[in-house]
Structures are given as structure tokens and as C-alpha cells.
Symmetry: C2
Subunit: 271 residues, 2 copies
């Protein structure tokens, strides 16, 4: 693994960071890396269902806000990161066959085909630096599988995975709603606040998506604290499981693609 200080990683340009990833020198979480740039979740599907998936994203903008779509067979996201290669520039991938996770490679060149279409989907983790800049007090343990269903389109269906943030008190959570509303490309506001059981999260310590090495047993909601739940692009995994396509590729949680799109500039990038 490449050795950089936290500060160097935070200030690194996405092009330079993607170079590291492409050379196999970074295979970990991208939290707090290239701060200010939009992180992106990845979904790759074959061309025959790509139109369905595109409509699925437009119909489910909270879990699937679109940042870029590649042309069939072309791994370059021309709008969000010219010169990048979706086959090599994410730290780790997930390969799904008929809804089963069959591989977690660091490179998908071997799986690439001329008919594959890549979708870059906004990521709520991009917002954390802005929450911290507003001095909002919270913990962000990870993502939970919920019972909130997406609107199905073609073969695509399944429940949402939501990012869970646990706030020191409810006023901090209210402030986070205002800050996150400014970034719709990063999933915008939470869709739920308060009792996790109301959206099917019966055990708050059981996460669907976590950075490696997290001690989840500590992540309970203490008296006075309150949790918010924001639809996550990690929902690509829950959709892959339910949709059961012959081939679908996503990424490992917290190992997203880093785009060249500044989150503050997002309103000018109208896709």
C-alpha cells in the first residue's frame, strides 16, 4: 500500500489518486480522500438492460443520483473523469452472477466486455467533509439494509441500503438535514430520522456495508442521540442480489470511484 499522510490523501487530486489505484497501490476505503470531490458508486450492466437501469436510476433518484454513464464497451466516464478507466480505477470490485457474489477483484479487466455500460452514482460519504465543516457532531458507522423498496423498472428491483449517521442530539441532526439538502448528487437529505425499526432496521449494530475493521458493537444509539438514514449508492449490491442478472458488477463498500467533479460545482454539471 502507498504510504501517505491523512492530509496528503485529503488534498490529493482525483487524477493522482486514481493513478495510485490503477497501479494497485491503494485497495482500501476512500473516506476522507480527495476532500471536496464527488465520490461515486459503480454499477455495470450489459447493454441489453442498460436502458432499463438508466430509467431505474431516474425513477429512484434518492438511492441512484446519476453522475455519469459510459457508452457501451467504453470504460471511460467522459463527463465525470476524462481519461479514467472504470475497469482499473476503483480500489475493489464486486462481481455478481445471477444474484450471487462470485468475486471481489481489484481490477475487472478480465470481466470486461464490449457490451458493458458503466453507471457512476453519487455517494453520500462525499457530504461528510461539509458536515464536519459545519461542526456537526455525529458518528457515521456505515450502511444498513432497510425495508424501503425502490420503484422497479424492467428486471431491476430491491430494497435500499441507507447510510446511518448517529447524532449527538436532534438539533445536530436537523443541521445535517440542511447541509445535506445542498448536495442532491450526493443523495441529499435523509429519508428517515428516529426509530430505525420503522424502516426495517431492527438491529442497529448489524451493518450491511462497513469499512473494514469497524467495531460495530460500539455503534449503538445512546440516550439523547438520534439516527438519520440516507439512501446509499451501495444499494447497487442489494439490487444486484434481487435482480439476479447473469452479470452485474459493483464495488466493495467504501471503495468508490473518485470523480473530478467538485461537489460545490455540482449544480453546473447538469447531466
Amino acid at each position: 500500500m502507498a504510504s501517505y499522510t491523512k492530509d496528503e490523501l485529503a488534498k490529493m487530486h482525483p487524477r493522482d489518486f486514481r493513478d495510485l489505484v490503477r497501479k494497485g497501490e491503494w485497495t482500501e476505503s476512500v473516506q476522507d480522500i480527495c476532500v471536496g470531490y464527488a465520490l461515486a458508486n459503480l454499477v455495470i450492466v450489459p447493454r441489453d438492460v442498460a436502458l432499463d437501469f438508466l430509467i431505474f436510476c431516474l425513477r429512484n433518484p434518492r438511492p441512484f443520483p446519476l453522475i455519469d454513464v459510459t457508452e457501451p464497451g467504453d470504460p471511460e466516464p467522459k463527463l465525470a473523469a476524462p481519461g479514467a478507466d472504470l475497469r482499473t480505477d476503483l480500489p475493489q470490485y464486486r462481481v455478481w452472477k445471477h444474484g450471487e457474489l462470485v468475486d471481489e477483484p481489484y481490477d475487472i479487466t478480465g470481466y470486461w466486455r464490449d457490451d458493458l455500460v458503466g453507471f457512476l452514482i453519487g455517494c453520500s460519504i462525499s457530504v461528510d467533509p461539509f458536515l464536519k465543516a459545519a461542526n456537526i457532531q455525529y458518528r457515521f458507522p456505515g450502511g444498513h439494509l432497510t425495508n424501503l423498496q425502490t420503484h422497479p423498472v424492467g428486471p431491476f428491483k430491491g430494497p435500499m441500503i441507507c447510510s446511518c449517521r448517529i447524532f449527538k442530539n436532534s438539533y445536530e441532526a436537523i443541521k445535517s438535514i440542511l447541509v445535506s439538502a445542498r448536495y442532491p448528487l450526493a443523495h441529499g437529505t435523509p429519508v428517515h430520522i428516529g426509530n430505525p425499526a420503522l424502516i426495517g432496521v431492527t438491529d442497529i449494530t448489524r451493518f450491511e456495508e462497513l469499512p473494514s475493521g469497524t467495531d460495530t458493537t460500539k455503534e449503538v444509539i445512546r440516550p439523547g442521540e438520534i439516527a438519520t438514514f440516507t439512501p446509499a449508492g451501495a444499494s447497487g449490491s442489494s439490487i444486484a442480489k434481487e435482480t439476479k442478472l447473469p452479470l452485474m458488477i459493483t464495488h466493495v463498500p467504501f471503495r468508490m470511484f473518485v470523480t473530478d467533479v467538485l461537489l460545490e460545482e455540482q449544480t453546473f454539471v447538469s447531466f
Copy 2:
């Protein structure tokens, strides 16, 4: 009482409505009257503590967002409602002596003095038409006394009364936060969401401030519902009780002053 349809009252200009009030033809709640115009809570104090109260408002902008202040002895709020008279143009008043409520007259001409200063303070009820326009599903039973303390200034101190809104689900509450944030002169966002006991509201059916005739026993929080609490200008009453001035005048809950200030225009009215 004057007889008008709900629609006529909603569309009435504040000048015409204040005329009705002045003639004693309206002594009830001003909810849903002159829709779009900022309602205002009233606090009147003697000149010798008026500077303290003005600083108190500036230091506590969530419960006390200032819309206008009169000059000593002059009952006309020149900025918010030229030509109006604070002694006659509110449906009903409260007169406090040494922290005790001693009278609830419909007119305070008899109490008026040359040294009295009137403060018009924004009212969160002004926001309800905008919440309804956004199709947000909720009930607004009234105001609760909380344990949230104001920052004391001079003799002024005491807890906040907060408007309680109960939402069908937490996503409706999240939407209400975004809408209410646009209207800081009407108290802006809630300061608390979720468990009422955390801000000292142990019995949700016990209201401090209610429109007359409300059946409070129905106002429980049902499973799946969530409550928000927004600091209310009705806090004038809780401050009057604690501050114990020889004379302080406020208004009866829900019987506010109606200003000429359009809430959508508030940003241009920089006081």
C-alpha cells in the same frame, strides 16, 4: 363576531383584518387568516428595560426573531404595519404584573403609558400555509413548555415554549425542516425532533399554548409518527412569568398581530 368565510379570511389584506379587530369584531385565533403575511407575537415592556429586551431578542433569535420595535410611547409599528395601533389591533392581550397574569383584555388602551415599547416577534404559525402548499402531512396541536433555556439578558430569562408539530412519518418531518428553514423570521427550523422528554416535555397531551376548543387528549404521538419542536414567540408568556416585571404585556396564544410583511418578502425587510 364578524361573519366571513374561511376563504375570505385567508385572502383578506392585513389592514382590513386589523380594522375588524380594532372595532372589536374579531377576538379569536388568527390561524389561516391573511395567508402569506407574517403573523407577529407581541411583547410590551417599559422603556427602562427595553434595551435589555432588545439585546435579549438579538441573543435569542430562535424564540425571538424581531420584526419591528416601536419608539417609546408610540403604539405604531412603523416598519411592519404603518398606521396600525398595537393597543387595539390584536384580538386579545395578556397583562402581567410581577410575573402574574392579571388581565386578558381585548384592548390595552387603558394600560398604555408614554414609556412603553412594543416588540413584534415572528410567529411560526405563519409557516403552516407553506408546509401545506408542499403537501406535508402533519398536525399542529399547539405549544409546549420545554426545559430549553433562553440566554438571560438583564432581568429577562426563562424557558422556551415550542410549537409542536406531529408528522405522519419522519420523511414528512424532514421536508418540513427544509421548508421552514426558508423563513427565519418565522422561527426557521425546529430545534428538536423525536423524543419530547429530551427537552422536558413529559406529557405530550399537556399544552401550554392552545387555540381554544382543542381536544388535547387526541394529540398523542401514534406509532410511526414523529414530533418536531420549534421555538415559539409565545415564549413571551414564559419569560413574563419568570422575569416578574412590574408590568409586561403580551397576547393570548394564537391571537397574534397580523403585519403587512409578506413572508416571502422577508429577506428584503432587513430590520
